[in-house]
């Protein structure tokens, strides 16, 4: 009998393999039609034999969960970004991504913290741009799938996200006025911009005389803020349009950074196809880790779907990296900021203020339980993007698993969100090794080499 059969052929369904201790029973109840999307359905493959590449007997409901992690769908287009899928915009954005001229010291680009050779991460606990940032720089794999951006979700699109670091004094430290002037001054940049969006605005003499100008919402007396307000409203809007277009081009490039062909994906193809060679893509240890991940360890509660994230926010009660970084409110301030961001999906610079943007933003409200919540990170390429957590508090995957193994339910400095399902896992050494083996099977950093460096020109 084949190692795989189908639920559609119940007579062949013989779950006969003893499961490892602590896993779900193999004699699972029959799978029935469910009114809820994603439920196990007839036609899903079912493991029936531990041979031919399968080291673990997966129950039908376990297999149904596994299948929901793969394949990774194509990167979605962003309706709020009209050039989201435009190759010309992606090339221009890629050029800008690596361009250190868009920083106050001429040394920082997006690639400073998102290094292609380091899996678009930086290997540091806290990001370092012009200054020392207060959070860890996440990797960029599959970020086009996100619902929210930044650890606190203070942006609702990839293009709005791309704008913020440019003006953050600790990151690029530049200003939107300086960005526009750079586009105007460099012939190649200017042509690339005009090729996509038409003529750059004619800056006033007053704007040309200013060293920098940008809104600083938290400090109305900041020189850059005062300079920004000294410009006419019409000119400020023209600058904002150019600035938002820069973000949209960078987003068009970052959207192409995809990872969806890891050994785990090959394994899932094997489950679907009944191909023992593909099933062998996961070692027995990784298969046991997968069963734990989607089973007893409940990792899938938050790390769900093809991106291994629920795209939402939780407090997993990680101590801060240092005393100076304590009491980071996370999502609590993120909600306020995304709702007031002029570059959000409902703002005047959005290319589609319709239902999708409304659906995303209209039902947010701040609650004290949002204190200390941070976005669930994707686990694609997690094994090659250490350190971990929002302040890079944990150096290794083993450290992360230890955190969940001995989970301290009493640690809650911000009195925030309470997730009852987070309980100490009491992982054995073998279980920890198995989970790490599974997480390592999510590694796929193979990207078109032409996307790994600055193109020779922005057009």
């Amino acid at each position: 009998m084949s190692a795989l059969t189908l639920l559609a052929a119940p007579l062949l369904l013989t779950l006969q393999v003893a499961a490892p201790v602590g896993t779900a029973p193999v004699n699972a109840p029959p799978v029935v039609a469910s009114p809820v999307a994603g439920a196990p359905v007839a036609g899903a493959p079912v493991a029936t034999d531990p041979g031919d590449g399968l080291a673990v007997a997966f129950a039908p409901e376990e297999l149904a969960r596994i299948l929901r992690h793969s394949p990774l769908p194509a990167a979605p287009l962003d309706p709020t970004n009209a050039v989201s899928g435009d190759p010309r915009a992606a090339r221009f954005g890629q050029f800008l991504f690596f361009d250190t001229r868009f920083s106050s010291n001429g040394k920082v680009s997006c690639a400073t913290c998102h290094v292609p050779e380091k899996a678009f991460a930086d290997g540091r606990s806290l990001a370092q741009g012009v200054g020392d940032a207060t959070r860890h720089a996440p990797a960029l794999w599959n970020v086009a799938d996100n619902r929210w951006f930044f650890w606190d979700g203070r942006a609702d699109s990839l293009w709005a996200q791309a704008l913020s670091p440019l003006e953050n004094p600790l990151e690029h430290g530049t200003s939107r006025l300086a960005v526009v002037r750079m586009l105007e001054a460099d012939e190649e940049l200017r042509r690339a911009y005009q090729n996509l969006f038409g003529q750059l605005p004619e800056l006033s003499e007053a704007a040309r005389a200013l060293p920098a100008a940008r809104p600083v919402p938290d400090d109305g007396k900041a020189p850059e803020h005062v300079a920004w307000l000294s410009l006419a409203a019409e000119e400020r809007r023209a600058i904002d349009i150019v600035f938002s277009n820069v973000g949209k081009c960078i987003a068009a490039y970052v959207r192409l950074i995809r990872s969806g062909h890891a050994p785990f994906d090959v394994f899932v193809e094997g489950l679907r196809d009944g191909d023992p060679a593909k099933l062998a893509a996961l070692s027995p240890s990784a298969q046991r880790g997968l069963q734990l991940f989607d089973g007893r360890a409940n990792c899938r509660n938050c790390h769900s779907g093809p991106d291994f994230t629920d795209k939402e926010f939780h407090s997993v009660r990680v101590p801060s990296a240092s005393r100076s970084l304590e009491r980071d409110p996370g999502r609590y301030t993120g909600i306020t900021r995304v709702l007031t961001d002029p570059f959000n999906g409902l703002g005047e610079f959005s290319d589609d203020r319709g239902e999708a943007a409304r659906e995303r933003l209209s039902f947010l409200d701040n609650r004290t339980s949002n204190q200390g919540q941070f976005k669930t990170p994707s686990l694609r390429n997690v094994a090659v993007t250490a350190p971990y957590m929002h302040q890079g508090q944990m150096a290794t995957l083993r450290d992360v698993l230890h955190h969940y193994s001995v989970f301290d339910k009493t640690f809650d400095p911000l009195k925030g969100h309470f997730e009852l399902t987070l309980q100490p896992l009491h992982l054995t050494d073998q279980e920890t090794d198995d989970l790490i083996a599974f997480l390592e099977s999510l590694t796929d950093t193979a990207l078109d080499p032409t996307l790994m460096a600055q193109p020779t020109s922005p057009r």
């Binding site: 469910s34 009114p35 809820v36 999307a37 994603g38 439920a39 196990p40 409901e61 149904a64 969960r65 929901r68 899938r300 509660n301 938050c302 769900s304 779907g305 629920d310 795209k311 939402e312 926010f313 239902e355 659906e359 209209s362 039902f363 947010l364 409200d365 339980s369 969100h417 309470f418 997730e419 009852l420 399902t421």
Partner: protein, 192 residues
């Protein structure tokens, strides 16, 4: 605990079906204050500064009223497979339909709801008001957003902004108010 706050619509004569068929927008006014009966659960204030809501077409037929109401108190929670339930006080039948159906995982959906008196289960109760809670009992939290109940003024409602971001058991608690009468029914949804 998450509370969906009742929003009173401007007088809307169109039934939910007409809303769906024609795409008519129902503009919401701010939440109306109401006196909760003594048996009603603690109330959570409406979101401050919430933007005016325009009901979008839900894209499906309204919840169909049952010819015969199910028995009250048969279970403390009603499964989603049973598309209607009787409130704890035995006075009302609440009928629901997710849109789209089935409920998608970690994506936005809406809920069409009809409230009728158990004694007249085929006639929507135009005086009904509705509130909802959505919780995950095993998790100790609910949704990360605050959906809105939009009443059409004729006993039919649309709940906007639903999104179940985690798998597991979700409980939807329907609170029905008609004058000083109050009843609730709990709908259990198992999201795999």
């Amino acid at each position: 605990m998450l509370r969906f706050t009742l929003l009173r619509s401007v007088p809307a004569t169109a039934a939910l079906l007409a809303l769906v068929a024609c795409g008519d927008a129902v503009t919401e006014s701010p939440a109306a204050p109401h006196a909760a009966p003594a048996v009603a659960p603690a109330h959570v204030a409406a979101p401050v500064g919430a933007a005016p809501v325009v009901a979008a077409p839900v894209g499906a037929a309204p919840a169909t009223l049952p010819a015969t109401p199910p028995a009250a108190g048969a279970a403390d929670r009603t499964l989603l497979e049973e598309r209607s339930g009787v409130t704890t006080n035995g006075a009302f039948v609440v009928t629901w339909a997710p849109v789209p159906d089935p409920i998608p995982f970690n994506e936005a959906w809406k809920l069409a709801v009809t409230v009728a008196r158990a004694a007249s289960p085929t006639v929507p109760e135009s005086g009904a008001r509705l509130e909802l809670d959505a919780t995950m009992p095993a998790h100790g939290h609910g949704m990360n957003r605050t959906p809105r109940v939009i009443t059409n003024g004729d006993g039919t409602f649309v709940v906007e902004g639903m999104l179940f971001h985690m798998s597991g058991e979700w409980n939807l608690v329907f609170h029905v108010y008609v004058g000083t009468e109050y009843g609730q029914v709990i709908l259990r949804v198992e999201l795999p």
